[in-house]
Assembly symmetry: C2
């Protein structure tokens, strides 16, 4: 297996550190628009890793880099604006493709998350190529949990609700998001999508249906709200449930910040003209905040991703479980030198690549993680030293 990792930001760099301990691949080319950032990501991890420069907005550039390095698998670790050029660039080079976020929605035209990718599913199938989409932690592990619940824990599912919460704090900053603010704005300010068997997909208002969810391992109660997220688009394609939701434990302060950014138009992606130059306000917001990848040493606490499922157990009696994965920042910093949120995202595509390398996972077309057997994934995640958990509720 010869991997091209596009993006040497927080998640990409953590993926390098995780993959460096595994033997399943021959080479990993780490490409970024900033070659120095790619160099920093590979430094010290051995000669299987090669730094490169790439313009992720150019499918041709991605294809050329794949051909130059005889790439078999492209792992996309940049923000979702670049999904389509990387997805198309990998296909043109005859490589398989993995990402952690899907092509963007467009509320005005009714285009949903991932629609642009699923529109090309037949092309990928016919060519015998695999695009494994949404294989970070959420989407990703959360989808694997959903499939596991359907296969092993339930005879009938009423609701699958992905629930994400943390008790992370960052010393020395008034406000310092632990994940890409660009992506957080995108997913939180777009109309959240919900799926119901009788209605299909529909959207609600941002921050709708607040609920207090109790997270395990000492994180405790966090207010969660509906957010637009890939799981709601992926899970119903392969898993039978009456309702699928995603709620994110943003907390009051973060919600207020996002609402204010929206009120002021600072969430906008389209450029504004400022003293002779054109800039996207959202890019300026991201540039004004500390880089989440650099905050690990100042962070404290745990982050939890998971899938809550309610329905009937195999015995036909009511059952409610929360399948989850917790990462303690102190552990991920000590073990890998990467903060908890990016580490938790990055471990999953590395596990997936290893399953594809060994043949435990195989498929063609455009697939979500829940299209593939869950047990090999959950077992190998334990093998990476980062166990998942199950709570009966």
């Amino acid at each position: 297996m010869r991997v091209l990792l596009v993006g040497a930001g927080g998640v990409g760099s953590a993926a390098v550190a995780i993959a460096a301990r595994r033997t399943f691949f021959e080479t990993m080319v780490v490409a970024d628009h900033d070659p120095a950032r790619a160099q920093r990501a590979v430094a010290g991890h051995g000669d299987r890793f090669v730094a490169a420069q790439v313009d992720a907005a150019s499918a041709n550039a991605v294809t050329a880099l794949c051909r130059e390095h005889r790439i078999t698998h492209v792992l996309n670790a940049v923000d979702p604006r670049f999904v389509m050029p990387i997805f198309n660039g990998a296909f043109a080079a005859g490589a398989d493709y993995l990402d952690m976020a899907m092509s963007l929605s467009h509320a005005e035209t009714g285009v949903k998350l991932g629609d642009e990718q699923f529109a090309l599913a037949d092309t990928w199938s016919t060519a015998g190529r695999l695009a494994l989409c949404g294989i970070g932690v959420e989407p990703g592990l959360s989808d694997v949990f959903a499939r596991y619940a359907a296969d092993e824990l339930f005879s009938e599912i009423d609701e699958i609700g992905v629930r994400d919460g943390a008790n992370l704090t960052v010393d020395g900053y008034d406000f310092a998001p632990s994940f890409s603010i660009w992506t957080t704005i995108e997913e939180c300010l777009n109309p959240p999508v919900v799926w119901e068997r009788d209605r299909g997909w529909f959207t609600t208002e941002p921050f709708s249906e607040p609920e207090v969810f109790h997270f395990p391992e000492g994180i405790g109660p966090v207010e969660c709200v509906n957010v637009e997220h890939e799981e709601v688009l992926l899970i119903p394609r392969w898993v039978n449930a009456r309702r699928v939701t995603f709620k994110y434990g943003l907390g009051d302060e973060f919600i207020e910040v996002l609402k204010t950014l929206h009120k002021l138009g600072l969430d906008a992606v389209s450029p504004v003209r400022v003293r002779g130059v054109e800039v996207s306000p959202r890019d300026v917001v991201a540039a004004s905040l500390p880089d989440p990848a650099t905050l690990g040493a100042r962070m404290r606490g745990k982050t939890c991703a998971g899938t809550w499922v309610r329905g009937l157990g195999p015995d036909g009696r009511p059952r409610e479980v929360y399948l989850y994965h917790v990462v303690d920042n102190e552990w991920s910093m000590r073990e890998y030198g990467h903060q908890a949120v990016v580490w938790q995202t990055a471990v999953n595509p590395v596990v997936a690549l290893e399953l594809l390398a060994t043949g435990a996972w195989a498929g063609v077309g455009v697939l979500g993680p829940e299209a593939l057997p869950p047990m090999p994934f959950l077992d190998l995640l334990n093998g990476y030293g980062s166990p998942w958990g199950l709570q009966e509720r």
Copy 2:
């Protein structure tokens, strides 16, 4: 009198419309960094007005433009970043100078609002030239009120508190400030300054000492907080009081927005690097919001500027008054085509120019409005059709 007006934004354009009805000056050159904006400001106001282009950051450019048009008085109507080049450029050309905001403070070095200008007071005096600083509405009319209170209404003053509040709304926008957001951020996020006879000037935390102030003419109660403002620096130099404060009726929502901008570093003036270009986050905030000068037709309500004074009356008995000036947006739009907040700011320097033209006001050096006799100003303001009021409290 031959006037150079620097800045054809909201306040500058309103000043043109107000001055166009007066005969006291011979010509007014209206200069902006954007020549089209200057053209729009003068269009339709007759051939005493001339549009020009100028870089307000260049004292040499201001001097050259003054010489070209034989300017006697420079009126600065751009944001306070440009006070010093315009102030120095006017002096070099032998012109008198007026502004509506003073040179900026620098908290780190203890430099206060206007310090850079007052440092040159002797130079202006010796040359026989006048810099009349802070002659908008606040500072400006508020300072004239303070001097009037001291001259006519009180034998002893305990506190002079400038209080500004409005009930303006803007149809069709979630959030649309009616005044320059650049200036609002500057004055609200800097440490507010307070003056006390026993302590001199000192600063407090942003948004400190909240109080509900009742504004006249139907505006009603508005929560006001301490804000850094020129009056606190100007009034104690010429008016005897025990304490001088400035509080601005920002309202909860605006305070929350300003705190969020600060939390995210989006109030910063220093540029950040964004995809290969350098921009000031605060400039991006301003560019993302609607231009306040264009909002008049969607605005409704009144704005009130004024000076509250507490002390002993001429008879030695306790007295408390609020001297104020209210502009109804419906009136200013109908009469002048300019929204209330910029109109209210702009009328005062035009009145001041007329007093200087007639000789009713005269002086040399760097002066605040309270250095000059208040009655001619207050009488002429009434003559402009925009009366002021006095409330005994």
